[in-house]
């Protein structure tokens, strides 16, 4: 009898401690949402490299009883790192890379090692288009800041979605609004995947057929010395002007100068492949882990989804409109379609410019011309992030 009693008691205790006892309505909804995101990542191939780890991290963090992530450890101004290391779960410890600002700059290192700034150096006017598209960030900030339920910091973190740059958005959000990090990351990466759907209607609405058919003249060849001096100059100028952008910009340009120098091939190969992949996995899983049921299932998340879309649309519109200004200023030499590539979703936005341009004139190859504003947008969004961090942080 004793044995049977003990057996029943043990089973009862196990059942009470199991996750099933801890599931509530909100947990189930989070499971369904992460399931939808996993489908979007795998089935529809929406930026799977990041969306899949994010979606799965969301699943892991909402498992009751698993204690893999404790969002309460990371709230407040001063974090008790001892508590994190002692009582934290796996995702708490990996999240330190996000909280301490390590992963996003390292991803930028890999991006810099994969980026060719040639088209930008050959046509420096593209910098202006990269700057204009960042207006999407600031106009969204105005809208978000005037809404009653977002603080200024949260508005800044949401606005940076308009930069269309995942690591930049995460870097800003983890400082300004860590409680919204999960929602912001999901919104940012989903919209980046939707760039081919969001941008063309706006581009067509704001340009005339004549403007869209402009064929731009061939870019001049860029020498190796210029490509080596470029990262140094950009790092100096941007970091001295906006020091908070230095980690992102510095690592981006480090990756680039390593690639252009041609003398550190092994390091470049690692930065492009192994390093990128490792950091991507850690970043994705831990960012997804911040999307616990209590922070994700709120009206703020719906607002982030709406404002994120607005930010992308405003950025595209601002870029195209500035492209029209340049078209008029250069007497018809610049095709306004490349302006939308200032939204720094590399290389997706440049390919969109190419496709829309080719619809008008199949012989029009705008891709290389659009890469200029595209990579300038990366620099522009990092500067914008630096400004937001230094004023609001």
């Amino acid at each position: 009898m004793e044995i049977i009693n003990m057996f029943v008691d043990t089973i009862k205790n196990l059942a009470l401690e199991s996750g099933f006892a801890g599931i509530d309505f909100k947990t189930l909804i989070m499971f369904i949402i992460s399931g939808v995101l996993i489908y979007l990542a795998i089935g529809r191939q929406f930026e799977p490299l990041l969306l899949l780890p994010i979606a799965f991290g969301m699943l892991l963090t909402n498992l009751p009883g698993a204690e893999m992530f404790h969002s309460e450890f990371f709230q407040g101004t001063s974090i008790d790192y001892g508590q994190v290391l002692h009582d934290g779960g796996l995702l708490d410890i990996l999240y330190l890379g996000v909280k301490l600002g390590i992963y996003p700059p390292l991803i930028f290192l890999g991006i810099g090692a994969m980026t060719d700034f040639g088209p930008l150096i050959a046509n420096p006017k593209s910098f202006l288009l990269g700057a204009a598209a960042q207006a999407g960030i600031f106009f969204t900030f105005i809208v978000a800041a005037f809404l009653p339920f977002y603080s200024l910091q949260e508005a800044g973190a949401i606005a940076i979605i308009g930069g269309a740059d995942g690591p930049t958005a995460i870097y800003v959000a983890k400082t300004l609004a860590p409680q919204l990090l999960g929602s912001i990351a999901v919104a940012a990466y989903s919209y980046m995947a939707l760039v081919p759907v969001i941008q063309p209607p706006i581009m067509r609405a704001l340009t005339t057929k004549k403007e869209r058919s402009v064929i731009m003249e061939q870019l001049r060849p860029v020498s190796r010395i210029e490509k080596i001096l470029f990262p140094i100059i950009v790092t100096l100028v941007v970091s001295l002007l906006v020091p908070s952008a230095a980690p992102l910009m510095g690592m981006l340009m480090l990756g680039n100068i390593m690639k252009e120098s041609g003398v550190v091939d092994r390091l470049v190969k690692t930065a492009q492949n192994e390093l990128m992949n490792i950091i991507t996995i850690f970043l994705g899983v831990t960012v997804g882990a911040t999307a616990t049921a209590d922070v994700f299932l709120s009206f703020k998340t719906l607002g982030i989804i709406a404002l994120g879309l607005a930010a992308f649309c405003l950025g595209t519109a601002a870029g195209v409109l500035f492209g029209k200004i340049m078209y008029k200023a250069t007497g018809g030499k610049v095709n306004p379609l490349i302006g939308s590539a200032g939204v720094s979703a590399v290389p997706m936005a440049a390919r969109v410019s190419q496709k829309v341009g080719q619809k008008e004139n199949p012989a029009n190859f705008l891709l290389m011309h659009a890469m200029g504003p595209n990579v300038a947008g990366v620099i522009g969004s990092a500067v914008a992030a630096g400004v937001l961090l230094s004023v609001l942080g």
Partner: protein, 116 residues
């Protein structure tokens, strides 16, 4: 809801982004101008020299059997592209490289002797 701060931040942010990138445009333009001046000087002096020995007639390269004329043209084009238009080059002969060592042995030697 500090309206002044919000509007102020927006305009400041836009101004700083544009300012930073305009400074960069200026730097790139200066760099481009300097590069053009430096390479302009280099192409000017050799421009005088090649006028005298215009296209020296080189004898056709001694080519190993089995190498088609097309391959010779491709190899010549590759060499010309690699060396640039610095100096005229004449190809004397084209021979197949002998398989002195098997590929795996070569890979092992390279791996061990590669400087860290």
């Amino acid at each position: 809801m500090d309206v002044a701060l919000i509007i102020g931040l927006t305009f400041t942010g836009l101004a700083v982004v544009f300012a930073a990138l305009i400074i960069l445009i200026f730097c790139m333009w200066v760099m481009g101008a300097i590069m053009k001046r430096v390479t302009g000087k280099q192409t000017k002096s050799p421009a005088q020299a090649p006028k005298a020995p215009a296209a020296p007639q080189a004898p056709a390269p001694v080519v190993e059997e089995g190498v088609t004329g097309e391959t010779v043209a491709v190899i010549s084009a590759a060499i010309a592209a690699m060396l640039g238009s610095d100096r005229p080059v004449a190809i004397r002969s084209i021979k197949r490289a002998k398989d002195s060592r098997p590929a795996w042995n070569m890979a092992g030697v390279t791996e061990n002797t590669r400087p860290f």
